[in-house]
Amino acid sequence: MSSAFATRLARWMPRLAVAPGFALSFAFIYGLIAWNGVLSFSASRLLPNYEFVGLAQYVALFESERWHVALVNLGIFSFLFIGVGLALGLFLAILLDQKIRAEGALRTIYLYPMALSFIVTGTAWKWILNPGLGLEHLVRGWGFESFSFDWLVNPDRAIYTVVIAGVWQSAGFVMALFLAGLRGIDDAILKAAQIDGATLPRIYWRIVIPSLRPVFFSTLLVLAHISIKSFDLVMALTAGGPGFATDMPATFMYAMSFSRGQIGLGAASATIMLCTVAAIVVPYLYSELRGARR
């Protein structure tokens, strides 16, 4: 074996090793995304077919009232889920960062919901929020007869119960990320600020939180795609009900494609979801990669 061949082999070996995996994932991720795109321009009903109908499925999609409900729900849910999740997670992280006792135990308790699947979370909250079984029933049992918390069965409020369950599940995870970020901040800066006479809230507001920017971004990215893909939580908690008051794009897509024999319409809604995710992720990746090159 010549040494030239050996160097060439050494150069090519890693690429050869990665190639099958790369080819597979390329075919099954991007290939299927492309196929879904093709289907969204077809007249597919029960089974896929390739009769080209142009933008008809997209027109039908945006004429559908249920899709509008799903989009509005996605807006409400994403905004609150990300906003409240970030705020609560940061708040918990700052409290835990005060060098308290039993921090490890508390951290585990707050982080634990993340270990559950959304199905379990949804089912548990479904019982907690059910007016006849859970919270309302309990408080009334204590003698507060007029207490009412029936959001779960109220079509105008049900989406907020999804937010409650979602935030409960993810706040601990956000807390852990921020806590790691806080631990990464150099103590010397904080000490210097204290010597300069800055109060603790001011130090957090002006120094600590701004230096957590990268953590903010990565957390935002994770929460954003969780909220756009949210399917199992809604299914377990409300199954899209009452009526279709808590329908989300993902549950809409599933219902259309797999139970109502409208694969074309489902594919169109999936494409819109992909575009939504891309609109968030692509600029972020672009800025990240550009930053790496600099």
Binding site: G132, V153, T238, A239, F258, R260
Partner: protein, 421 residues
């Protein structure tokens, strides 16, 4: 032993095995069946069918897909059909049979139908559902009646109320039950349950002709007419007699409320009877069954059936035809329906072994088939395409759940939903 010799030996074994399997297949067929008969009574009935086929020398293979309430099974079925590897039979019903038929993947069963005289044994309304472009492609297993009212006699006695026969009486009874401190109507807030109630109201208030025009033919003028207004108002009035915890409740839990006497009545198809029977209750004594208010002379049917797919293997083809014939045999229809709470799809069956509710159902089935008041159930996928059905269900559930929505708004949305293609 050299490597080459190992390979040749392996090849020999493989060839022998292939030949052996092929010879088995040539002697007897195999039917692969996609079904959801998993509960106790249904499983018993399925094994009866299996035994019948094994008696003819065929083997039975369950096409089981876990979870998803049938949706995931359908998804797997689609992928199998697209890849040219369809099972022999699958539990598909109503207009979905037509949808599959349009894809050109269903087998023609006309020879079996002719040999067994199906046209004479099935009411035309039923055989029309089983045919695609005039050819039999599916076999009916049973007939469920959807427009039933179930009640707990103890609860009625406590409230000093009687079993209602029309909607005015229904609300009198419901009011009395409410005053007695009971939940008047046990309901589960899922869209098909909302619609089961809705279609019983539509049939009771508007009659069979209105029902057909508005909900089967989806005629816009009828959907916006005065009768529909009355139907929607009555339907919404029922909601006042259900409890606040109904959203998301499963139907069998609602039935359990009637069984335990927490609730007085339930509007539900005759699969609810299976729950009563399983709880050791006797019809007429521990629970009452009657046609939903105002629908005594009509019948909304929900028929389970098996669609047969085109398959290539000739031995399996024979097994498939034998299965189709066995499903329509009086023995199987009796065994299966005794277990499931439904009635046989065949006309002129001996109903001696069935209970009073089933006898009433059977009598009405024959009478309504003659009187043209036998109508398909929309809630259970018997009347319109799955896309339109879903859209209409959405509107009805929304109207049920949204107190600010007027019947007029609901009618406009129904017209829009009915246009879903």
């Amino acid at each position: 032993m050299t490597p080459t010799r190992t390979t040749t030996r392996a090849l020999h074994i493989a060839a022998a095995a292939t030949l052996f399997c092929a010879s088995l297949a040539a002697r007897a067929g195999e039917v692969e069946v996609l079904h959801y008969w998993t509960s106790g009574g249904e499983a018993k009935a399925a094994s009866a069918l299996k035994a019948t086929l094994q008696g003819k020398g065929h083997s039975w293979k369950d096409f089981a897909v876990a979870g998803g309430g049938g949706d995931s099974a359908m998804t797997v079925l689609k992928s199998r059909v697209v890849s040219g590897n369809a099972p022999a039979a699958a539990q598909i019903k109503g207009p979905s049979i037509q949808e599959w038929g349009n894809e050109g993947v269903l087998a023609n069963l006309d020879d079996v139908a002719k040999a067994n005289n199906w046209d004479a044994l099935l009411p035309k309304v039923v055989s029309d559902v089983m045919k695609h472009k005039g050819h039999y492609v599916a076999v009916p297993v049973n007939v469920h009646r959807v427009n039933w009212l179930w009640a707990n006699p103890e609860a009625l006695k406590k409230a000093n109320a009687k079993m209602p026969t029309n909607w005015d009486e229904f609300f009198v009874t419901a009011e009395a039950l409410k005053k007695a401190g009971l939940i008047a109507v046990a309901h589960g807030g899922q869209n098909w349950q909302d619609f089961t109630t809705f279609e019983s109201v539509a049939l009771g208030v508007g009659g069979a002709d209105f029902y057909r025009k508005a909900l089967v033919q989806l005629d816009a003028a009828t959907i916006k007419g005065p009768t529909m207004l009355k139907v929607l108002t009555t339907f919404k009035k029922v909601k006042g007699y259900t409890d606040k915890n109904a959203p998301g409740r499963d139907w069998n839990l609602a039935t359990a409320m009637v069984i335990r006497g927490e609730a007085g009545m339930q509007l539900m198809g005759d699969w609810a009877k299976g729950e009563f029977i399983a709880a050791g209750k006797a019809p007429g004594k521990d629970f009452l069954c009657a046609a939903a208010p105002g629908t005594a002379n009509a019948f909304t049917f929900n028929i389970d059936s098996f669609a047969m797919f085109k398959i290539k293997n000739t031995a399996n083809l024979q097994a498939q035809k034998d299965m189709a014939a066995a499903i329509m045999s009086p023995e199987f229809q009796e065994t299966f329906n005794l277990n499931k709470g439904s009635i046989p799809a065949r006309l002129n069956m001996d109903m001696a072994k069935f209970d009073d509710c089933a006898k009433l159902s059977s009598k009405d089935f024959v009478a309504t088939a003659k009187g043209n008041t036998l109508v398909p159930s929309i809630a259970h996928g018997m009347a319109v395409s799955s896309a339109a059905e879903g859209a209409i269900k959405d509107v009805v559930s929304q109207f049920w759940n949204t107190d600010t929505m007027t019947p007029e708004q609901a009618m406009d949305r129904l017209v829009a939903a009915a246009k879903t293609k």
